[in-house]
Symmetry: C2
Subunit: 251 residues, 2 copies
């Protein structure tokens, strides 16, 4: 019969949430103030506590209030904060290599961080690392994409023996083998002259423009457990990132 006009009848708690949002936006409750208590809202809207709490949960999800036992609902913002978010499902997505690339291990072994290396890795000098050096390629004929130095804690040196070693990101391999999870990560991108040590392998001249990307992986208790340094010749790598405007980043 009818074309389902979508009456869009709001549920009671959504309605209350909307009204409260409006009041907050219009300044009735400034930041730092308290919203009326659940009991007061129950009386004001002639509704049950359940309904009021559902409404307040919405405001909480939007980041407008925080609720604390014994205190009340504190206004922390008058507008849902607009964020630009860049989120990835894994850090390997973050590293925008396609799955077509792989690493050819050149050599590996232990190394002690001297002054310069410590500065690059942001670790204390004298720290002992296990270093894996490899060349990142699309295929064995094309010019390599870049030179990769992977520094991992010595206790994780076993990752080089994994069958998927050259394919999967090392921090994921460490997670699988040792249960070490990445809680925090940091990236730096800068330009420098191509170091002579990599120039020949990358088929460019030493001193030519090079893009260097440093990624630091931290576990629990902010323990730095892996650092990768990749160096790309001109024209072989572009870092790109998209950001979306969003009120609430979602999975």
């Amino acid at each position: 019969m009818s074309d389902k006009p979508r009456e869009r009848k709001l549920s009671r708690y959504r309605d209350i949430a909307t009204r409260l949002q409006k009041e907050i936006r219009l300044g009735k409750y400034p930041v730092g103030d308290l919203l009326p208590t659940e009991t007061e809202l129950m009386a004001h809207y002639s509704t049950s506590r359940q309904t009021v709490r559902e409404a307040l949960r919405i405001l909480m999800d939007q980041g407008l209030i925080v609720r604390r036992v014994g205190l009340g609902s504190v206004i922390i913002a008058t507008e849902p904060p607009v964020l630009f978010t860049h989120s990835v499902k894994s850090l390997s997505e973050w590293l925008r290599y396609s799955n077509e690339t792989y690493r050819d291990v050149v050599r590996s072994g232990e190394i002690v961080a001297d002054r310069d290396l410590a500065a690059l890795l942001k670790c204390e000098p004298g720290k002992q690392w296990f270093l894996i050096e490899s060349i990142r390629r699309v295929d064995q004929f094309a010019a390599p994409l870049g030179w990769t130095e992977i520094y991992v804690l010595r206790k994780f040196a076993g990752v080089v023996k994994r069958s998927d070693h050259g394919r999967a990101p090392v921090h994921e391999q460490i997670a699988k083998m040792f249960g070490q999870t990445t809680e925090y990560a940091q990236m730096e991108i800068f330009v420098r002259k191509m170091p002579a040590a990599f120039a020949k392998a990358l088929q460019v001249e030493a001193g030519s423009p090079a893009l260097t990307v440093v990624r630091r992986y931290y576990g629990l208790k902010e323990e730095l457990f892996e650092v990768t340094v990749t160096t790309h010749p001109e024209g072989r790598y572009t870092y790109s990132m998209d950001m979306q405007r969003s009120l609430r980043p979602r999975v």
Copy 2:
């Protein structure tokens, strides 16, 4: 007296949520299957529906299930999808310049995108832009940080007349003057040889390593309305970004 041993007694619904998470992770309920109904869980855990629903809300928030009326709780993942998020409150934070820097406008005027420029900006050739060229500095004595080309739609050319022109990001000025909001943004970073056109102004040699950052700002309907291209000599700029592991991105 006691050192507050933090008994950490889990609330009933959190306990149930944890148990269900474990069962899901161990494969008792594969992706696509249904979790037991609320009624079944009430019976199984000898608890109320309220408590069961609170537990299921947690799983929902973690992205493990979706719940649908008349159907049930569908498993959509066996592990909480781990996200790494990088969120900023504004795009000017994204551009990691300190507030101490400013732009010195060198010249501005209209320009039509030729083939090369269109490729760089990712717009159609022949598109008309208003170009503002400037030098980014910390102070007038130190070597400049970089060269900035700002391409805006011709209708936004008026931004150069703003009093805060050299200080605030242009896309923010456009937002204030014209109400154009940024819904989506994109960034690319690559290395190239320093173009001769900027070399002298930046006090480096043409052909020396240069870091180029292209930022594209899109409004509603995916309309590209501003592109900035900044070119930095070696050692004067490092792009850095932090990412947090988070189940649910928060403000």
